[in-house]
Amino acid sequence: MSSNNKTLVQLNNAGFRQNGKWLVEGVSLKVEKGKIVTLIGPNGSGKSTTAKIALGIYKNIEGNVEKYTNKIGYVPQKISIDWTLPLRVYDFMLLTENINDDAIDEALNLTGVIHLKNKNLGNLSGGEFQRVLIARAISKKPELLVLDEPVQGVDYTGEIALYELIKKISDTLNCGILLISHDLHTVMTATDHVVCLNGHVCCSGSPLDVARNNEYKTLFGEQASQILSVYEHNHDHVHSDEGHIKKN
């Protein structure tokens, strides 16, 4: 794979081994500005590991990672916060970067949790906390967003709204997004490129390509394949040669 100046992060044949066991191997992918790349795959297929390789959290990796940005927003799948810290939502928003109050309010408004601004982080529900996590990641206006199951624990209507928000952010900020999700339905409408993992890259391409792929069918079943195909008729944009999105 060759990189160009739109590439934000690129994995070349990357893999990670822990305690003698490969968590994931041979992953090549790249995330470009304005594009959403989604990782799908069963539990334990190495989705989160791939994200952590891309982010540089895992250091002793096989292959290599080329990173072309340092403005990164990350929503981890699991986060354990020690409650010996007195931490309000407001303090948490400033965790990795000093952003101004307007940007904080804007992000909290977008994810619908502005009313929790001065609440203690430990008192939030799972869904509320997830919204705060997303708000924190987008408030710093990152060039690369890495979202690992970002809407877990969020109610159904909220889930749809948040995925729409993620799509909107990718358009307005022109940032690249690496998304991990279980929800094939919602994700596929917005995704540009799908990478299907199962310890290695099982198949990749546009949502449609992946849906037609036989390996994908054996991994997820015929029904899942039909879910993806539904969106064949729903695509509201095409991609021009330059990579811009044109609305139909």
């Binding site: 952590k52 982010l55 540089g56 959290i57 340092n70 990164i72 927003g73 990350y74 981890p76 986060i79 354990s80 916060i81 020690d82 010996t84 810290l85 007195p86 931490l87 309000r88 407001y90 303090d91 948490f92 965790l95 990795t96 970067e97 000093n98 203690n120 890495v146």
Partner: protein, 267 residues
């Protein structure tokens, strides 16, 4: 009004409290209280080396404590022993070795009680310079690493992913711990330094709802402890370290009343 030594002790204590306030918050947040104990126990060895080779005590303690911290990191990497066992191993063996070395140094008269529990009579003008200059450097460095250290205290992976280099911040913080122990050993004594770090911060946790408030209350608590402790030390002729720590315990108990109050309000 007061003797010179008392004024010196007061100035020294205030300098130390200004530094232990913010550092102590991190010790509480990062659960490093036993780590602090280990470093301060090893300080005894540093003191004996200082006497043997006529080095500056603060410098010698700083070097030995840093070395123990490095040994700890190596042992963590190379053995399968749990962290608390390694800390205990280093804390007690360095204390023991320090005491054995003192046994050999028969030509020097040691004030063991002073070493263990602090001695305000021992604070010289020279010590004041070390405390205030060292303290200023510690606070300055802490300010520089604050963001990555705090972010990785909340969540290591977020800090690492968003490019803050938490490993470097952690290493620097370890050195700062060794440094605060080095500058406060004469005043508080090596058995009680960790108390000076933890108790005001714990008191502050009880009455704070944000990290900034906790740091401010921790500093105020430390300052009050030093002032109350030193005056009572003068009044009742008790050792300075225990007096300061007892004063901070008193403040901690007061802060518990505040918690009780707010729980009653909620109900």
């Amino acid at each position: 009004m007061f003797d010179d030594f008392f004024i010196r002790a007061l100035i020294a204590g205030i300098g130390i409290a200004l530094v232990t306030g913010p550092l102590g918050c991190f010790v509480v947040w990062r659960r490093l209280s036993y780590f602090g104990d280990t470093l301060s126990h090893s300080a005894l060895l540093g003191v004996t080396l200082a006497y043997s080779f006529e080095l500056n005590i603060a410098l010698s303690v700083f070097l030995i404590s840093s070395a123990v911290a490095l040994i700890l990191i190596q042992l963590q990497k190379k053995t399968n022993l749990p962290g608390d066992a390694l800390l205990g191993l280093l804390a007690h063996s360095s204390l023991a070795v320090g005491l054995v070395v003192i046994g050999f140094l028969t030509f020097i008269r040691f004030d063991i009680m002073g070493l263990l529990f602090g001695d305000i009579l021992a604070v010289t003008t020279n010590d004041l310079i070390i405390i205030w200059l060292g303290g200023a450097i510690i606070l300055l460095v802490l300010k520089l690493i604050w963001k990555p250290l705090f972010a990785s205290t909340v969540n290591y992976e977020l800090a690492e992913a968003e490019g803050l280099n938490p490993d470097r911040a952690k290493a620097v913080f370890t050195i700062l711990m060794a440094a605060i122990i080095a500058i406060s050993i004469k005043m508080v004594g090596l058995l009680l330094i960790t108390g000076m770090l933890i108790i005001p911060a714990a008191m502050a946790r009880n009455i704070s709802d944000s990290p900034r408030k906790m740091v401010i209350f921790s500093v105020i608590g430390g300052l009050l402890s030093v002032i109350i402790g030193l005056f009572s030390s003068l009044e009742f002729n008790t050792a300075s370290g225990p007096s300061i720590i007892a004063a901070s315990l008193f403040l901690f108990i007061l802060s518990l009343l505040r918690i009780k109050q707010s729980i009653q309000l909620k109900n």
